[in-house]
């Protein structure tokens, strides 16, 4: 059983405020991904949970025990670092057993735990090697193994896959997911890769400028972003935005083009808003708004188009092959349920 509660946590370096009041509850066995652009404070938050930095104010509790002022030693957390941080002078075996040795476990216990973890991660043949003799993927596994042998209350991951190439990253992502399903430990995972966050996490926490923008199940966040930032951050290719004002039952872009609004949406006319729609939600229809194709990018299964609508380039993602060329006229449409409207000033979502 391990839960974590963070209450109004703040961190400043000198005059710079990195975290501006974070509240977060993590349930037992939950996999939480912290995402956000670089500099949003997600890594700092993880380091505060680990005890590598000291909080300026607020509190962190693990299993109901306040650990805010405890050094890492007293927190029973394990962490996988972005650059793995393996001990270069120790073999894989000694790297994985280091914490157990410090804890004073006897040699037989250490050996059996290291061997078990190595079997899970397929490291059996590498136990006597040094980190310098391993490939990137192998190092990543050793770093994960070092965390597993401790059976800690919390697993912390700091962008653990960002130093791997794309193919290996996808493979390790699957391995980490399988590992979580098997161990059922509580895990907190920092990443800037929203695909990783979407596929791995039970819950995603989107951060920006030291604050939590929104948290929730991955698909909830994808379908109902609480603000324009979250809408734009999750999803690739990113959500399209058009600036304009609300008319009566429709949206008027800055150049006067009329675009639809969500079904049954009725708000004050003349309000400045952002009209957002995901690339895969737009498609060719008989009756809709018109655009001019500018770029065609076939990727095999999909075709990605850049279409100029209302004076702005919109990305359109079709899950099929299309016979279009730059310069072609297209009539596009979008389902009312797929349209997102945000306040132009503060970015807040305007409807449910």
């Amino acid at each position: 059983m391990s839960t974590m509660t963070i209450d109004n946590l703040r961190k400043s370096f000198g005059a710079t405020e990195i975290l501006r009041g974070i509240d977060l509850d993590v349930a037992d066995g939950e996999f939480v991904a912290l995402v956000g652009p670089s500099g949003c404070g997600k890594s700092t938050l993880l380091r505060l949970i680990a005890g590598l930095e000291e909080a300026s104010s607020g509190s962190i509790s693990i299993d109901g025990r306040d650990v805010t002022r405890l050094p890492p030693k007293g927190r029973d957390v394990a962490m996988v670092f972005q650059n793995y941080a393996l001990y270069p002078h120790l073999t894989v075996r000694a790297n994985m057993g280091f914490s157990l040795k410090l804890r004073g476990d006897d040699k037989a216990t250490i050996d059996s735990k290291v061997t078990d973890a190595a079997a899970v991660l397929g490291l059996d043949a590498l136990l006597e090697r040094y980190p310098g003799q391993l490939s990137g993927g192998q190092r990543q596994r050793v770093a994960t193994g070092r965390a597993i042998v401790r059976d800690p209350k919390l697993f912390l991951f700091d962008e653990p896959l960002s130093n791997l190439d794309a193919k290996l990253r996808a493979q390790m992502r699957t391995e980490i997911k399988a590992l979580h399903q098997r161990l059922k430990n509580t895990m907190i995972y920092v990443t800037h890769d929203q695909i990783e966050a979407m596929t791995l996490a039970d819950r995603i926490v989107v951060m920006q400028a030291g604050r939590i923008e929104q948290q929730g199940a991955p698909l909830d966040l994808y379908d109902r972003p609480a603000n324009a930032f979250v809408g734009g951050f999750l999803g690739s290719p990113a959500m399209n935005f058009v600036k304009g004002i609300l008319g009566s039952g429709l949206f008027l872009a800055e150049d006067g083009t009329q675009l639809p609004v969500p079904d049954g949406f009725d708000a004050e006319q003349g309000r400045s808003v952002l009209w957002g729609v995901r690339p895969e939600a737009i498609g060719p229809v008989d009756q809709g708004f018109s655009g001019v194709v500018e770029v065609v990018e076939p990727t095999g299964p999909d075709t990605q188009l850049l279409v100029r609508v209302a004076g702005q380039p919109l990305v359109v993602l079709m899950h099929k092959r299309m016979r279009v060329s730059p310069g072609d006229q297209m009539t596009l449409g979008v389902q009312g349920a797929d349209i997102h409207l945000f306040d132009a000033a503060d970015g807040r979502r305007l409807h449910l």
Partner: protein
């Protein structure tokens, strides 16, 4: 890196230790600087009269420095400055050329020649002073400026530093200039050297310190008064039976300032280059 969970006691202990050590380093230097400003009559310090006036002169005077002006000390300063300056200028050019060759070209015998450079910087210069003296004497160079300057120009450590720096510039850079029709000498003087000024500063200081620190070689190779450098001129005067103690204090202080002032001006680059692993 922030150091979390640090106890104030550890912090005080660290400041305390550092202050004691820094004091031990600075105390003799500061004492000498002040003592050189004492009137001659106050120089002797009976052991029984220890107190604040052991360090603080009753009145400050430049008499000791004025007296130096008429002796042979100005010549020694001139010799030192000239020798150090020539060593630094020639040393930078010659070693930078070699460092550039090791970084930019592939040629036959490269590894062997580079090994020679490494060996030469691991072996301290003092090891070969006496045989070198035999050679210099045979050249007819004993007691001359070139005896002091020429052997100190080629410096394995400086070649190594330049090689490290030039190797860190992508080769595309040089190749682009080649494609544009530049000669290698042009690339070296107009592209490589202007990029390397931190390395030039560090190397210059390194060459300066090597020349400045040498003692055995100038004593052996150029001990005649006309060519004596500062450290040799002073060492010759220190028989502890002379009358002009004030002059010795003042000349020693000048010799210290001549080394420490350039060092203080450039040490930031130097320390940074050393620490960033330029040495390994």
């Amino acid at each position: 890196m922030d150091t979390p969970f640090r106890s104030p006691l550890a912090l005080m202990l660290r400041y305390g230790l550092l202050s004691i050590l820094a004091f031990m380093v600075v105390c003799p230097l500061a004492w000498l600087a002040l003592a050189s400003l004492r009137p001659q009559a106050e120089i002797f310090q009976p052991v029984s009269e220890f107190g604040w006036h052991t360090f603080i002169p009753s009145r400050l005077t430049l008499d000791n420095y004025r007296a130096l002006w008429n002796g042979d000390f100005p010549l020694a300063v001139k010799n030192s400055v000239f020798v150090a300056f020539m060593t630094v200028v020639f040393g930078i050019v010659v070693n930078a050329l070699a460092g550039f060759a090791f970084a930019a070209f592939d040629f036959r015998g490269k590894n062997l020649l580079f090994l020679l450079v490494i060996i030469s910087f691991m072996m301290p210069f003092e090891a070969i002073v006496l045989p070198l003296y035999v050679m210099i004497r045979a050249f007819g160079w004993a007691n001359s400026y070139q005896a002091l300057i020429v052997p100190e120009i080629a410096n394995g450590m400086v070649i190594f530093l330049f090689r490290q720096f030039f190797a860190s510039i992508p080769r595309d850079f040089y190749e682009a200039a080649r494609v544009d029709g530049a000669s290698w000498l042009y690339i070296f003087t107009r592209i490589a050297m202007p990029l390397s000024w931190p390395t030039i500063a560090t190397s210059g200081l390194m060459l300066f310190l090597a020349q400045w620190d040498s003692f055995f070689w100038p004593v052996v190779a150029a001990s005649a008064p006309d060519y004596a450098v500062v450290q040799v001129a002073i060492a010759r005067n220190i028989n502890f039976e002379q009358n002009d103690w004030g002059g010795l204090f003042a000349s020693t202080n000048i010799a210290i300032l001549l080394g420490t002032i350039p060092f203080l001006l450039i040490q930031r680059f130097y320390v940074r280059t050393l620490i960033s692993g330029g040495i390994k």
